[in-house]
Every structure is written in C-alpha cells, then in structure tokens.
Symmetry: C2
Subunit: 209 residues, 2 copies
Amino acid sequence: MFRALVVEDQTLMRLALMNEVQASFEKCVVLGAETLNIAAVELQNSHFDLVVIDPGLPGFDPTSQGDRVAVVDRIIEASPSAIHIVVTGSDNRCEADGFRQIGAAAYLGKTGLAPGVFSDVLDDISTKGFSLRLSRAVMTKPDYRFSVLTPREHEAIDMMAHRAPGVKRKEIFSLMADRLAIDAGSAEKYYKQARAKLMRQGHTLPQGL
Amino acid sequence: MFRALVVEDQTLMRLALMNEVQASFEKCVVLGAETLNIAAVELQNSHFDLVVIDPGLPGFDPTSQGDRVAVVDRIIEASPSAIHIVVTGSDNRCEADGFRQIGAAAYLGKTGLAPGVFSDVLDDISTKGFSLRLSRAVMTKPDYRFSVLTPREHEAIDMMAHRAPGVKRKEIFSLMADRLAIDAGSAEKYYKQARAKLMRQGHTLPQGL
DNA sequence: AAAAATAGGGATGGGACCATCCCTTTTTTG
DNA sequence: CAAAAAAGGGATGGTCCCATCCCTATTTTT
C-alpha cells in the first residue's frame, strides 16, 4: 500500500493536495498534517513513500530562509527513503536549488499548480530525477463553475471554452474523448447536454459557447 | 441566479474556495480569476452578489500593505453592491480592521478555513454584519484519506477518529445521523463497512478505531 | 449543390453510492 | 448475571451519473 503525507497548514490547500496525491495513485493512503509536530509524530510511527511539504508552517517565520530550510530538512531526515516534494506560495529559483541540494525531488509554486499537474511532476521525478515548476499566472479567462452541471458536463464546457480560435468543435470532442478515455460521440453528447442546461436556466454562456 | 467571483492566484486554493461557495448556495454560478485583470474584466461585464478576494496576487508586492489594500479597494469599488470576503494566508487583526473600514464583510485566515466554515461565515455576515476568523493551528491528529472508502464511509471514520475519550460510539452515530440527516443505524452501517474495508486491506487504523 | 459540421433531441443499460431494514455473535459495562 | 454496546455481516430499492447508440433539422464549408 502506497503511503503519503502532506504537511501544509492551510486546510483547503492540504485537502486539495491530498486529493492530487490520491488521484496519482490508484490504491493509497494519504495523511495530512497541519503542523510540523503532527508530521513528526507520524514520520516516527510509520513509513511513507511520499511527503509533500509547504515550508511556511505555524510557529516558524515564513520570511526566514533558515526556518524554511529547517522544516524541510527535519522532515527529510525523518523519512530518508521517501520522495520529498516542496510546495510553496512564495517560490523562487534560488530556494529551489537549496532544497534540491538537501534532497528534495521537486519544487512547486502554488500558482499554476493545477489538478493533474501532480502526475506530471511524478513523471518528471522518475525520468529526470527532479521537477521544477515555478509560479506564473497564465490564465487569460476565468474558470467557471455551474452548480447544475455534472462533472462530465463541466469538463466538456471547460474544454470547449478554452478552444483556440479556428479549431473545430469536432476536434475538441476527439481531444476530450482521448483525455477521458471515452467515445467522441459521448463527449459531444455531454457538451450538448451541458449547453442545453445552461441555456434553459438563462445563463450567460462562457466565451466560445 | 446567485453569482459569485473568487479572485485567488493559487489554482488549487481557488478551486477549493469555489467549491466552498458553491456548497453554500444551492443554485449558483461561481467564476474564478487568477489575476486582478481577469477579475476586473468580469466585474465590468456582469453583476456579482459575492466576491472572495486573496490580496496576494501576481504583479503586486505581497509584503506591501499598500498593494494589498489597493487590490481589495479596486474590487470593492468595481462591485459596490456585492458582499466582499477577504481570504489571506498572512492574516492579522490590524489588517482585518483596515479591510473592514473599506467595506469588506469578512476577513478569513487560510489556516483553519475548513470545508463548511464558509457557511458559518455567511451566517455571521447576515446576523452580525462582519465575520473575523484569524488563522490558528488547532489540529492534534492528522487527517486521513483512504482511496478505498466512499465519501460517506470516510465521514464515519473521520468522526469516529475524533471521538473524545469516554464518548460511546452510539453517541457518535447519533451525532453523525444529525449532521448528515440520515438514520443512526445507517451511520453505524457506514462505520462498520469502512472499518471492515480497512481491516481487509491490512491498514493501520487511525487512533480511536 | 454536395458534404461536413453543428444544434437539439430520445432511449438504454450499467455501476457506484446512498439509505434502510434485518440478522447473529462477542465484548463490555452496570 | 443481565443489559447494553459493539463487531460483523446479508439483502434491498432508489438515485444519479456514465457511456453508448440512435434520430432529425439547420447551418456552415468546400
């Protein structure tokens, strides 16, 4: 059984990271620790294959580089056989190098760390040994979330909303079919159903229909 | 149709906040903006009932109090009729007062901002006019996430794991029944099923069984 | 004009999860 | 000891979503 630990004080972020880890491993257990103390207890009591760390924890000065390194270093030493991934909101290349030298396998900025990126990071680690993803804002349009749509319908709407100009809808349906491992006809169906729901409720549709 | 906008650069946090907003309103649309520019465009084009803002956005100095106030102020002026909620990782009472004075209805620290808290915050706003929740780490045990368990089974395990000493399981089942609006027998069933699944897979059970 | 793309539906079976009710045996508690 | 609590399971109906296949107009492209 694959075991992972996420050390992050912000609850919503911790739960989201736990979700990402879980999505990357079919069968697994993921623990979440709000403080370094809780993490230390768990690291002492059991073995972990993967540890995700945000160095900005309660009780430490987030602006002190020494404190940040101390947190990560202590965790790495307490779980030498695990893969260690550092996730931070205030990321920079210099700090990334520092954490790499003390044994981290990845350094990720929170901005741009989207659902699914985690799997790519794990791929990077197993092929290149290290993964670096610095923060940068890349969105040009907003995200949408409609409470009337099912997850599948939402994916259809999202992908269509981000369609590049000149691309045919049929091509998006094929892309969607690939990504979700379903039939292109089904993808088309979800899109049409989603669109119909939004129209019925009098919504302003996102750009690109 | 209730319309909300979440302005936050960290993708996972933005999506989580959008989820929280959605969970608080049965029928609604929630938009997410990674940058102030995207937010400004949307605020200009349509009306919003609720805006959630993290003042630490790309392009601004997160340590500059002036920048943080400028971000929030600009958004409040662009949507004077909306409810404005400020969410930040580096929260303090002083900043809370400042944002309150320029019209924010709530000031929330990210640590301790857990699923469900948002509804309480909205209650605070409608009854007292303002909600203040500063960050503080309160957990003493880790979160668990088992990929084999369904959501209901997970809730059963979670609540049982946080059982106070001396409390009977039966009481937890009643509590769970109240919270989820189900039968106490069903709650008991979920707990037993969850426990059996974990035992079958040879898991180390969380404290408290 | 012919071909392709798009919009808009209806119907179907399967699977996962929810919620309930029922049962027996073992352990703990008063 | 007697009663309550707890462990451990079987069976059922309902709902929602997934995925597929089918159909017909209308619009756009070539």
